[in-house]
Symmetry: C2
Subunit: 205 residues, 2 copies
């Protein structure tokens, strides 16, 4: 598994359910989003442009991904506070190891200097993205539970100290799993939910 | 980092905040718990007993941990549905690799046959526990964000299919981080929370 293979598995439309735990605040915030991922070939104009922005030789890029999203978070204060956006990421593998390398992004939030970062595929074939900004940094870990379910955990540090941890459970839109998700449970599902809750308790909460 | 070192870093009292996403149900459930972890030496009577239960030579155990917890989940239907319990886990490293091996547990929920499982320390020094039951299985991943903050993500599969994903953020009781956690935010914290929310949006939701 290398970076571009991971992006290819991620291609498509996803329904993402996120929960964020703020360290300072003993409550969790939830939200939902639709996310669209499209892979970009190594010679795609946006890939080339981002390489140039980061002064990286475009021929060293393996390719990239265009990620766009539209979401809502429970603590949004107004209609204007929507979470719509898109970003392009480019993978530049290390010469000696295609399972890790540089991750180039577009211009980030409120920063003049384009954001750069690192990626690696860990020994469980999960994709880890490490992104640095001037005052914040994040570590995100993506893993596929199945081809239609992706799990994403991330931590954000602000001024060097841990700020938040998030979990996103993402189901591929149009898959059976996605269709089965409901706002209210049918009896069989309710039984499953209860069984799993009791099971979890026996593992040590 | 080996299994017992990980247990030693985990020793102490933790305040755990959990969110569970049920795949069937597009809502997340939250809850809190206090968790106490005490390490057990390889020759501790409970370690020896669990080895015998699993027909493992007690001298092969590296040690264990006693985990006890008291928690509440938001969807608990009554006062009686409390999540209090304890369990003992024992580490039996593979002969050729102390970073992985068998994980022996006490008798599990509603099962006659004692539960066994595997553990491994992955290349990011996170502890991964894989536990099998007759109709359910779980994969839990524990990692330390700092010595006073531990993050735990887990997935449960029922009848082979993905059922839930959970995130626990755990802060060491008595640490500064734990003291700073509040039910309502002071202005400085509110600023931090907003900054991080905006940042997260720029990463691709």
């Amino acid at each position: 598994m290398d970076g571009m293979e991971f992006f290819q598995l991620s291609a498509g439309k996803w329904r993402s359910q996120r929960t964020t735990h703020h360290l300072a605040f003993r409550r969790a915030e939830t939200g939902e989003s639709e996310i669209n991922v499209a892979t970009l070939a190594a010679d795609h104009p946006q890939v080339v442009e981002i390489c140039r922005l980061h002064q990286v030789e475009p021929s060293k890029a393996a390719g990239g991904a265009l990620v766009s999203w539209q979401g809502t978070m429970a603590w949004d204060r107004s209609e204007e506070e929507n979470h719509t956006g898109s970003t392009v990421m480019v993978i530049v593998p290390d010469q000696d190891n295609p399972r890790q390398g540089r991750l180039l992004r577009e211009r980030g939030y409120a920063e003049i200097v384009p954001v750069a970062g690192r990626y690696l595929i860990d020994d469980e074939d999960a994709l880890v993205l490490l992104t640095e900004y001037e005052t914040m940094s994040s570590e995100e870990r993506f893993c596929f539970v199945s081809s239609d379910v992706r799990m994403r955990t991330s931590t954000v540090k602000r001024f060097g100290g841990f700020s938040t941890a998030s979990l996103c459970v993402e189901t591929r839109i149009g898959s059976d799993l996605d269709d089965e998700r409901r706002e209210t449970l049918v009896p069989q599902q309710a039984q499953d939910v209860l069984a799993v809750r009791q099971f979890q308790s026996s593992l040590g909460w």
